[in-house]
């Protein structure tokens, strides 16, 4: 794919070969759009997608996140067949167990479950004892209660993206890896061309799916996107016999931890003192804090050996909900960013909604809560609280 010369023109140029860019490309092509080009600076999944925790959950605290996640799960359940994929996307639905540590947190969880149930998400509140039945090695001394949703789970980010890539390619989408977008030409308030280190492509439509660099891509087109990037670290252990079905997460202990179908455990946590920026290095502080947290909440995991650690960028929006939108001031500029740490699991809806917007169709869901202009002149008072 990287040996072809860049075309001089395209109908749509998508910047970013992560799961979002690949899903948008496939959704557009499936609805008949021709001449789609995807530009990726390194290789597919080299951004946040290939560095993520591979978790898929519907247990959210805001309505928009709940609906996006639920409808995405419905796609993942069929993804293998819909995309006619020859590999395995490894969608394992063994649930997410979200534990609370205080009665106050449990009270918030009760509200979340009520909202989730009202939207058709089959989550439920569990006592400590019930939680322990699902994850026997859970240390219930440090928790108050839990919620569980059995249709949440794990999905392989590499093969899921590969599935979108291959399906999009079959529909005629061209992919250019190891190609960097350096500037965007805007003429009379409309997109005119995309400049890369390998040539310029004339186009009327640009899609910003650049993950941690979405703000910088916005600046190239003169569009101010209120997002920032932040390193989030993660580690993986040696693979072992299956011992944990669901992902276990705690917002107050600051941890998510699951066993992949391959057998390895992956776990991560946030760091309040992390500076904003594009650094994705690994730290000892993370390892120290992670080992303490996981051995407190899930003691037997302490016996597993860590084999790798790495970092990746969260691209964070003011209300921790994605921006899937056009730009009022620049015609032909679209974006899917600000996923705030949960953009992998939303990719099917990201692709569907943004493609409908681009093609001028009525979107499958109301998109006000995802629009760029929702932040204009407003203090953000409501935001997604269920994030690690």
């Amino acid at each position: 794919m990287k040996n072809k010369a860049l075309p001089n023109t395209a109908d749509v140029v998508i910047i970013g070969g992560g799961v979002s860019g690949c899903s948008i490309a496939w959704n557009l092509a499936k609805q008949g759009q021709k001449n789609i080009v995807v530009i990726e600076r390194e290789y597919l999944t080299s951004g946040a997608t290939g560095r993520c925790g591979a978790g898929v959950r519907q247990q959210w605290a805001t309505k928009a996140n709940c609906i996006l996640a639920k409808q995405s799960v419905e796609f993942f359940e069929q993804a293998q067949a819909i995309l006619e994929y020859d590999g395995d996307v490894e969608f394992k639905q063994e649930g997410y167990l979200i534990v609370s540590s205080t009665p106050e947190e449990t009270a918030q969880f009760k509200k979340n479950v009520r909202l989730q149930n009202s939207l058709g998400i089959p989550s439920k509140l569990l006592t400590k004892a019930e939680a322990k039945q699902i994850v026997p090695h859970l240390n219930t001394d440090v928790i108050d209660a839990a919620t569980f949703c059995g249709t949440d789970g794990h999905l392989n980010p590499f093969t899921m993206t590969d599935a979108y890539y291959k399906a999009a390619k079959r529909l005629g989408v061209s992919f250019y890896t190891y190609t960097t977008v350096e500037d965007i030409d805007v003429k009379n308030g409309a997109i005119h061309a995309v400049k890369t280190n390998k040539g310029t492509i004339k186009t009327d439509v640009v899609v910003n799916a650049a993950g941690g660099w979405a703000k910088e891509i916005g600046e190239m087109a003169g569009v101010d996107i209120p997002v920032f990037s932040e390193n989030h670290e993660i580690l993986v252990t040696e693979p072992v016999e299956k011992m944990q079905g669901p992902m276990v997460i705690s917002f107050s202990h600051n941890i998510y931890c699951q066993q992949t179908p391959h057998g390895a455990f992956i776990m991560g946590r946030g760091d309040k003192n992390m500076p904003k920026g594009h650094d994705v290095s690994s730290s000892w502080t993370f390892l120290d804090d992670m080992s303490k947290t996981v051995t407190t909440l899930l003691p037997p995991i302490g016996e597993l050996r860590v084999i790798r650690q790495w970092g990746g960028l969260y691209n964070i929006s003011p209300d921790h909900q994605p921006i899937i939108s056009d730009a009022k001031d620049v015609k032909g500029f679209y974006m899917a960013c600000g996923f705030s740490g949960h953009g992998f699991m939303l990719a099917p809806m990201t692709g569907l909604l943004l493609s409908e917007l681009i093609l001028g169709k009525t979107p499958s869901l109301p998109m006000e809560d995802m629009a760029l202009d929702r932040f204009e002149g407003k203090e953000i008072t409501e935001f997604e609280t269920s994030v690690v």
Binding site: K166, S282, V294, G302, L304, R305, V306
Partner: protein
């Protein structure tokens, strides 16, 4: 020999034919191969297969071996138990 029967990565059970298929799909670097098929991601962390993978990339794309990048090594070349890390961290406090 049938490339289906030539195993390149023993840890992750990847044959030479698997590599060829990936090359054909447009995946041309070690970093890409390891992500789709776990080539080089097994317990030996590419100690066994790394050189062979580099060699096959060079041959297939007709590039000098020295120009084929090895995959990024991450921290930890040998596993360390989380409990051991926790104890060391506790001792420092």
């Amino acid at each position: 020999m049938d490339p289906n029967n030539v195993i390149i990565c023993r840890c992750s059970d990847v044959s030479l034919q698997d590599l060829y298929d990936l090359f054909e799909e447009g995946y041309t670097t070690f970093e890409e191969l390891k992500r789709i098929k776990r080539v080089g991601m097994g317990p030996c962390q590419a100690n066994t297969c790394g050189k062979m993978v580099q060699w096959e990339i060079a041959k297939y794309f007709n590039k000098p071996l020295a120009s084929v990048e090895f995959h990024n090594m991450r921290p930890f070349t040998m596993g360390v138990k989380l409990n051991a890390i926790k104890e060391a961290a506790d001792d420092e406090e």
